[in-house]
């Protein structure tokens, strides 16, 4: 009961914190933009600096390092375990949060062991090259809408290039250099196996990653992520917002899966495998390994952010949007929108952890088969079908109708399979939730 109340309070406090953070980010962006104008620079420079600090250094870093704890604590909740609780502050484990400090101390104070036969420059470069692209990707994620704050027109987006999504593809494909270099430069058989696996997997999935978003580009007629977010607020048939997952359900699934493969996490965690090849980072101690690990978690947040921007309405709060827009001031509405974006991002990051703890890992040939034989054809079909439908009807309504049918079919098939399963399995995995798990069998 105490926990239920605590969690309900958390569900109120957490969005409030996000809202306050978004509001502070807007104010900072407006203030710095005004400062930049005062110095004779373009206002966008000041806003970019403020966004860099607030979105990338504060939100992205806190969210991704928090996910390292979330990974352990949430996985424990999914598996009916307790999770990390040995470090306590005044007798309270605080949900595992003190482990952040412990991890940082451990990583920073570990002995710096370096393989003597390494390639010196590339060995040191690899963690940076793995970390930087993941970090830089968040620059184009449009967290908040445009608003006039303190007399300046700002939006919560660090960098808004016309190429938009192409920037995402370009920077995302740089990440493979980090893993390949790490594998090669540490001069270790296992590490290079990991690096080779990582590069072949990531390069394969880049194809479907790119193709899966072509449909969304065509549907919204733009490459810019902020304009995609704006266009998702348009109403179809006067009531249904043209959200990406309605217009492009297949594109969402394909993009999510390929981006998941790009993050190199389970079920696509072939580049690392403790029982076979340790991983491309086997020769990296301390914080160098920490950077590679942290870059995975940053990729989670970035992937969640891009999916939110392209497929889940970006900064549109979706629920009560008309009322909010009518009754709140422009800055307040923008802050609510940005908070909605951050909330959706965290939910999607949580979903990725759930998937990671649900699925067993693939075999390597299965990974390649999934990519080249299933996702690539599906992505191509999606491109052609979307193109034809956009040609037929530029208002997205036909596209959305087809999308709704796709969602209905998927829901139907899923529901049918869940009806079929329990009778057969007994204590099988499908049935574990149906029986009261604590009653018997332990």
């Amino acid at each position: 009961m105490r926990r239920l109340v605590g969690m309900l309070v958390f569900l109120v406090v957490f969005p409030a914190v996000l809202l306050g953070f978004a509001w502070a980010a807007y104010l900072a962006a407006g203030a710095l933009a005004g400062l930049a104008v005062g110095w004779g620079l373009p206002a966008a420079y000041g806003a970019a600096v403020a966004n860099l600090v607030f979105l990338m250094l504060v939100f992205l870093m806190i969210a991704s390092s928090g996910l390292t704890i979330g990974e352990r604590k949430w996985s424990a909740m999914m598996q009916n375990r307790i999770g990390p609780n040995r470090i306590r502050v005044l007798g309270n484990p605080l949900g595992g949060m003190p482990y952040l400090v412990a991890d940082a101390l451990k990583m920073l104070t570990k002995e710096n062991i370096e393989p003597s036969a390494r390639s010196k420059l590339l060995y040191e470069l690899a963690p940076v090259v793995a970390f930087a692209p993941a970090f830089a990707l968040f620059a184009v994620v449009p967290v908040g809408p445009e608003a006039v704050v303190l007399g300046q027109r700002v939006s919560l987006q660090v960098f808004n290039p016309d190429v938009g999504l192409l920037y995402v593809f370009a920077i995302a494909s740089l990440a493979v250099f980090g893993t390949a270099l790490a594998g090669w430069a540490s001069n270790n058989k296992l590490a290079i196996l990991g690096g080779v696996r990582a590069s072949s997997q990531m390069i394969s999935y880049e194809v479907s990653l790119g193709l899966s978003l072509v449909g969304a580009m065509m549907a919204y007629g733009t490459l810019r992520l902020d304009q995609m977010s704006v266009r998702q607020g348009e109403l179809l048939w006067g009531w249904l917002p043209a959200l990406g997952f309605i217009v492009q359900p297949l594109g969402l699934v394909l993009f999510f899966v390929s981006a998941f493969a790009e993050t190199k996490r389970a079920p696509f965690d072939l580049p690392e495998g403790e029982s076979e090849i340790v991983g491309y980072f086997v020769e990296y101690p301390g914080m160098k390994f920490g950077m590679m690990m942290l870059s995975e978690f940053i990729e989670i947040v970035v992937l969640a952010g891009v999916v939110t921007a392209v497929f889940f309405g970006g900064w549109h709060p979706v629920l009560f949007e008309g009322w909010l827009r009518a009754n709140l001031g422009p800055v307040a509405f923008a802050a609510v929108g940005a908070a909605a974006f951050l909330g959706k991002t965290m939910l999607l990051a949580w979903l990725q952890l759930v998937i990671r703890w649900t699925l067993p890992r693939f075999r390597f040939d299965q990974i390649q088969k999934l990519c080249w034989k299933m996702m690539l054809p599906a992505a191509l079909v999606n491109v052609f079908v979307t193109g034809a439908l956009v040609l037929l009807d530029g208002s997205l309504e036909t596209l959305a109708a087809v999308g709704l049918v796709e969602i209905a079919v998927l829901a139907g098939v899923t529901a049918a399979s869940s009806r079929a399963a329990p009778a057969a399995a007994g204590h099988g995995p499908g049935d574990a939730h149906a029986a009261p798990a604590h009653a018997a069998g332990h």
Binding site: M77, M78, T358, L410, V413, S417, H438
Partner: protein, 231 residues
């Protein structure tokens, strides 16, 4: 039948699409997560009685109660006047297969009859926890009903318990105790009356209530622990 044979059939179309099954699995895991996220974990140490799933026992904080017959750490049973019931007869030291009990007998001053152990040492590292000493004792002076196992220590020496460490727990008096019958001079007169009043017949069955000392029975400790856990 304790297990179910699951037919190994080829995947059907629905499973080969992969996505519906993934969504179903994610649903199961998410439900598990939400239940553990919102619901208080039931800390009942008896995990079979828990309302919430999960059997992990947070060991140093939560302990599963030992069953009533558990042979735990030894104790020397005291009399009401605080002296040990032990009469230094060496039965336990004789029967001990590990030879981990050492006793030095001494006489009570001014009493030609009564003996007591001036030293009574058990090496818990040597003890094989067979319980023969408890069986052999004619005075119900040594018991293993503490419900504890030997605690971890940093040195081997700390595992050697002497009569001061062993003498603890609830005192016991029986009607047949010779020091009560003959009013031994080691007991003050006022105390003697109290001890006689509290004395009971010697237990004929191991299950007799007073063979498990009242207030110090493993059964009761287990019940208390269960109640504590449930609250």
């Amino acid at each position: 039948m304790p297990y179910k044979v699951i037919e190994d059939r080829p995947a059907d179309v629905r499973e080969r699409i992969f996505l519906p099954e993934v969504i179903r699995g994610v649903g199961i895991i998410a439900r598990q997560f939400l239940r553990n996220f919102f619901l208080q974990r039931d800390p009942n140490p008896d995990h079979l009685l828990r309302r919430t799933p999960g059997v992990t026992i947070q060991y140093p904080e939560e302990k599963q109660p030992y069953p009533p017959g558990y042979r735990g750490l030894h104790r020397l049973v005291p009399r009401e006047d605080g002296r040990p019931r032990c009469v230094a007869c060496y039965m336990c030291a004789t029967v001990c297969p590990a030879q981990c009990i050492y006793i030095e007998a001494a006489e009570v001053e001014g009493d030609p009859i009564e003996k007591f152990p001036s030293r009574f040492v058990i090496d818990e590292l040597r003890c094989v926890v067979c319980g023969f000493c408890v069986e052999a004792c004619p005075k119900d002076a040594i018991r293993m009903d503490t419900g504890e196992h030997a605690p971890p220590t940093y040195t081997r020496e700390a595992q050697v318990l002497d009569e001061k460490a062993l003498l603890r727990g609830a005192p016991v008096s029986y009607l047949g105790d010779p020091w009560l019958k003959r009013a031994a001079p080691s007991i003050p007169a006022a105390k003697l009356e109290e001890m006689r009043a509290r004395a009971r017949p010697y237990p004929q069955l191991a299950g007799d209530e007073y063979s498990q000392t009242p207030g110090f029975s493993v059964r009761q400790l287990a019940a208390e622990a269960k109640a504590r856990g449930g609250a």
